[in-house]
């Protein structure tokens, strides 16, 4: 119960920041503030929660299938067609498992941490523009708010690591804190490149600005500004990979050294929160990169004017965004089975010696490109 509070609070905060925003639920309940916005926040929370917990189900399945094929195995194929329902079965199993709180743990913080971790993730889903109108909160500060919500989960992880009263958990939490705080620098600079190029912080407006180029891909940021935006995209992708604690940056939960790190002591439903968060954030950061660099919901080779306005077009756009994000998620899975986990000093070296200077060069180059 405690774990459910922070997500609700976070979505309310996200809803509140939409000063002059237009969104599905705001329109539904009237643009005014007060109870209308409260009700829209509740409904938005419900929708976002549903999306944010349905997508990880798909992604856990995809991860296991893809990793299976990369190791010449089959992956789950028993429950449902192609094993699609396997993740649901696992979720149900996790829900009914015993929820153990270690005797020497800080009970309150231990219970609160998974919710805090999930909170930022779920609130951030409200900011993703699936199509021109299918967006829960079109905050004018979209990208900035998203970065804030991503940075919020460090605290949840540190809290989990500390409250577990376990040295491995604590070490994992410390690694996580160091890693996340460091990788926020290149991530922020690369996000700044997108903000510079479109002179807006709203993800929806960014996606709109990337429509209607040559073959409907010419305006995508990586094609519009290939010299600087493409390296920036790669740097952003690596930084986001580190932010989601995915391999090869999964030091906070390194199984071989830290017995799965900060969530060593978690089990049952609380563990599933961490699990959910990891897969939801995989999609989230991919969608962020897509909205900023890969044209958002715009369909390649199909002029945007052909498919605007109707409900079907919106659904098609949302599908396109999901497919593009899924391609990036696939690359994440692919990288996981390609690269071994790197050492903590290598993580820091990569961030400070390689990604940050490249990001700065790209930033300055983008300034020149936009002013030229």
């Amino acid at each position: 119960m405690i774990s459910a509070l922070p997500p609700a609070a976070a979505i309310f905060l996200a809803q509140g920041t939409g000063g002059e925003s237009r969104s599905l639920f705001r329109d539904l309940f009237g643009a005014g503030s007060g109870w209308g916005s409260f009700a829209s926040a509740v409904l938005g929370f419900a929708v976002v929660f549903a999306v944010a917990s349905a997508l990880p189900v798909l992604f856990t399945w995809a991860e296991r299938r893809v990793s299976g094929r990369m190791q010449q195995r089959r992956g789950p194929n028993r429950v449902g067609p192609f094993g699609l329902v396997q993740a649901v079965a696992d979720g149900v199993k996790l829900m009914f498992k015993e929820d153990i709180i270690p005797a020497n743990a800080e009970r309150f913080l231990f219970a609160l941490a998974p919710g805090l971790v999930l909170a930022g993730m779920i609130a951030a889903f409200a900011l993703i523009p699936f199509s021109e109108r299918a967006i829960v909160v079109d905050a004018p500060l979209g990208v900035y708010l998203l970065a804030a919500l991503l940075s919020l989960q460090v605290l949840g992880v540190v809290m989990a690591g500390w409250a577990s009263n376990n040295k491995w958990s604590l070490l994992g939490a410390m690694r996580e804190a160091a890693q996340m705080v460091s990788y926020e620098i290149p991530m922020g600079i690369c996000l700044l490149i997108g903000v510079l190029s479109f002179s807006t912080l709203s993800l929806r407006e960014m996606s709109l600005a990337q429509a209607d180029g040559w073959l409907n891909v010419g305006n995508w940021l990586i094609f519009r500004n290939p010299l600087f935006a493409f390296p920036a995209f790669v740097v952003l992708y690596v930084a986001l990979l580190a932010n989601t604690k995915r391999a090869p940056f999964d030091l906070p939960e390194a199984e071989s050294e830290l017995v799965s790190g900060f969530h060593t002591e978690y089990s049952g439903i609380r563990f599933s929160f961490f699990f959910l968060e990891e897969y939801a954030s995989m999609f989230l950061v991919s969608a962020l990169a897509v909205c900023m660099f890969l044209g958002g919901w715009n369909i390649p080779f199909l002029p945007g004017s052909v498919v605007t306005g109707s409900v079907g077009a919106e659904i098609l756009a949302a599908l396109v965004l999901i497919v593009k994000s899924f391609a990036l998620v696939f690359v994440m899975i692919w990288l996981r089975w390609t690269l071994p986990r790197i050492r903590i000093d290598q993580v820091m070296n990569l961030c400070y010696k390689y990604l940050t200077p490249i990001a700065f060069v790209c930033l300055i180059g983008t300034c020149w490109w936009e002013l030229r």
Binding site: T338, K353, Y354
Partner: protein, 206 residues
């Protein structure tokens, strides 16, 4: 990795990192598109070697109930109960093997005068209870026709190879004798280096 200094080293490190990642990703994606080698166990089974020793198979109509196998078994896991009626007709009650004990040494199959007991190709011995591992070969229908055929073929192959080996040994012996008659026994023996042995004709090694 050796230490690289200066900006050139930085660039080379960067290039190495990107390039090696690309190579690795190429390898993994190639594996992604190969067929999985997994065998879906309960439905399909892995093909075992032709001379695999699995759960026994008894050709009951050939068996003459001589109890040789029972005596040959070093761990006493075969139990045979039957009643011999006049006229050589046997009424079978039990021909059971205790697979809790059996170590698949094949010592029961070798002395069988009718060669009617074989080690089959069934290897799955998953049961809910240990007592279920005592199988009565009279009623156990775990053997498939194809297994039987493969066993027959394997045995024929074995016999053929043994015959071949015997023939070759005889030939060699004849050659050696011929060489000995010439009074120079050293030379032909030198030719018999292990590397020149025929890999197919493994029969003479046993």
């Amino acid at each position: 990795m050796n230490r690289r200094d200066g900006f050139a080293g930085w660039v080379r490190n960067l290039w190495d990192g990107v390039f090696s990642t690309m190579v690795g990703m190429g390898i993994t994606i190639r594996y992604f598109f190969t067929k999985p080698v997994t065998v879906q166990f309960p439905e399909e089974k892995m093909e075992v070697a032709p001379r695999y020793r699995g759960i026994h198979y008894l050709e009951q109509d050939l068996c003459i109930a001589c109890r040789v196998c029972e005596k040959a078994c070093p761990i006493d896991c075969i139990e045979i109960r039957f009643k011999r009626h006049p006229g050589g007709v046997n009424e079978w009650f039990e021909f059971s093997l205790d697979y809790n004990k059996c170590m698949f040494c094949e010592l029961c199959c070798i002395p069988c005068p009718k060669s009617c007991i074989h080690e089959g190709r069934e290897y799955s011995m998953v049961r809910y209870d240990r007592s279920e591992l005592v199988l009565d070969l009279l009623t156990w229908k775990g053997m498939r026709e194809v297994d039987l055929r493969t066993i027959k073929e394997a045995e024929e192959e074995k016999k053929r190879k043994a015959a071949e080996a015997a023939a070759r040994r005889a030939a060699e012996k004849a050659k050696k004798e011929a060489a000995a008659k010439e009074g120079d026994p050293g030379k032909p023996r030198k030719k018999e280096t292990p590397g020149k042995r025929d890999p197919e004709g493994g029969g003479d090694e046993r």
